[in-house]
Subunit: 223 residues, 2 copies
DNA sequence: CGCACACTGATCGTATACGATTTGATGTAC
DNA sequence: GTACATCAAATCGTATACGATCAGTGTGCG
């Protein structure tokens, strides 16, 4: 055979559906029909099934036996639960990644945060959220524990899929957020202990979460 | 139809393989052949495939395209990574579950820990590990955030699948562990804040992890 | 007019079948 | 004796086919 066969069909199906959910082409509640997707991909339903089940395991789609799959609903509770989970795991990942934060890394992070600061004028929530995601990825990206890294990435991915950035709901957080990022980088530059980094990072996340909770008229998170 | 059809075949397959891994009937490295399992279950390979992929998503089996699935290897790094992940998430789950810890709950937890204390004489690592799992389940079980709860349960499940309890490797930790459990319950009884509970619980987990690391001649965890 | 029930179309769950890929073994040349 | 090419068996990946199940609709009865 000449064909390269780089990825299996179920992998292709997974990528396709996954991307469409992320870009919002499939919005929450959208009915994912195996046969339709299979036809579109030019393959049978079997690989599509597998892809859908994988997405289910990741929490991006909801599946009911003998009924079918739909893109997971973004109920406000789900958003909060995901935020809360990230508030616990991401700071830990960042602290564990501290060893990799050298001078080069630091200047890159500073530059990115500076770009975010510039973005504050004529505020564009989407662009800002994208850069915010990138900034945090820079923070936790070098975490040496693959489980934890995976969990953090899934969390962010879920939030992205919800297309409900905090900054859309509570725009004033953007300015505070940039300031807190700087504080975090200062802390890292001064060779703070991992525990200190974790605490500061968690505080940053907690501020965002609690601002959202307050805006929604709810109690702040207990931790 | 008279049949109840309580679970789909892929669900049955999932349960079967999952249990066999947990009980150790399928030990790490064991080759999971779709056809063989299907034959044993009296069904075709398709549902088995789905079950295997689910187990892969949970990290219990390793899957290679066109080659097949094997029960995940328990390399010591994996064990440590799982322990470290749990060290971060479980205390948070416990703190979030604090609201549900009333007098009745407390007496149940005390009773269980007392049983563990009795088990210290003629020490049986397996029985002790089982009770320890139960005790911790009691701690985090009422966590209201389903994501976090799920992550904690997966972590414990993974550790169980590894059949490599800390108490097998470092038996002297058992005695300290029971004492720390009591301390934790005292703290809860005195209506400590969730943050305090989290800190104490994490310290407990950190002690276990670092004892293991020390026994293996490795550096203690940075957080 | 409203409710219960049977029917229908859509969709899922699984079996079977076959092509594709890998792996390990066998044989041959050097 | 070793290295490499070739081959066969085992196993996976996917297509197709058909039975099972569910949601919605229409009809009949109270």
């Amino acid at each position: 055979m000449v064909t390269v066969m780089s990825a299996s069909k179920s992998e292709v199906a997974y990528q396709l559906v996954s991307e469409r959910i992320n870009t919002g082409a499939y919005s929450p509640g959208y009915r994912l029909v195996l046969g339709t997707i299979a036809e579109e991909l030019g393959c049978s339903v079997v690989p599509v099934r597998e892809a859908i089940r994988r997405l289910e395991a990741e929490g991006l789609v909801h599946f009911t036996r003998n009924v079918g799959a739909t893109v997971a609903q973004v109920d406000s509770t789900l958003y909060l639960h995901t935020m809360q989970t990230l508030m616990i795991i991401e700071p830990a990942a960042t602290a564990l990644a501290a060893h990799a934060m050298d001078a080069a890394w630091l200047s890159k992070a500073r530059a990115l945060n500076e770009k975010m600061r510039q973005c504050l004028e004529d505020f564009d929530p989407v662009a800002f959220t994208r850069m915010n995601t990138e900034f945090h990825q820079l923070l936790y990206g070098q975490c040496p524990n693959p489980h934890i890294l995976d969990l953090v990435q899934r969390g962010w991915r879920r939030l992205a899929a919800m297309r409900a950035s905090s900054f859309t709901h509570i725009p004033y957080r953007a300015r505070e957020s940039v300031k807190e990022h700087d504080g975090l980088l200062d802390l890292i530059e001064s060779h703070a202990t991992p525990a200190q980094i974790e605490a500061a990072c968690r505080e940053h996340r907690a501020h965002t979460l609690n601002s959202y909770l307050k805006a929604a008229g709810m109690e702040p998170s207990v931790i």
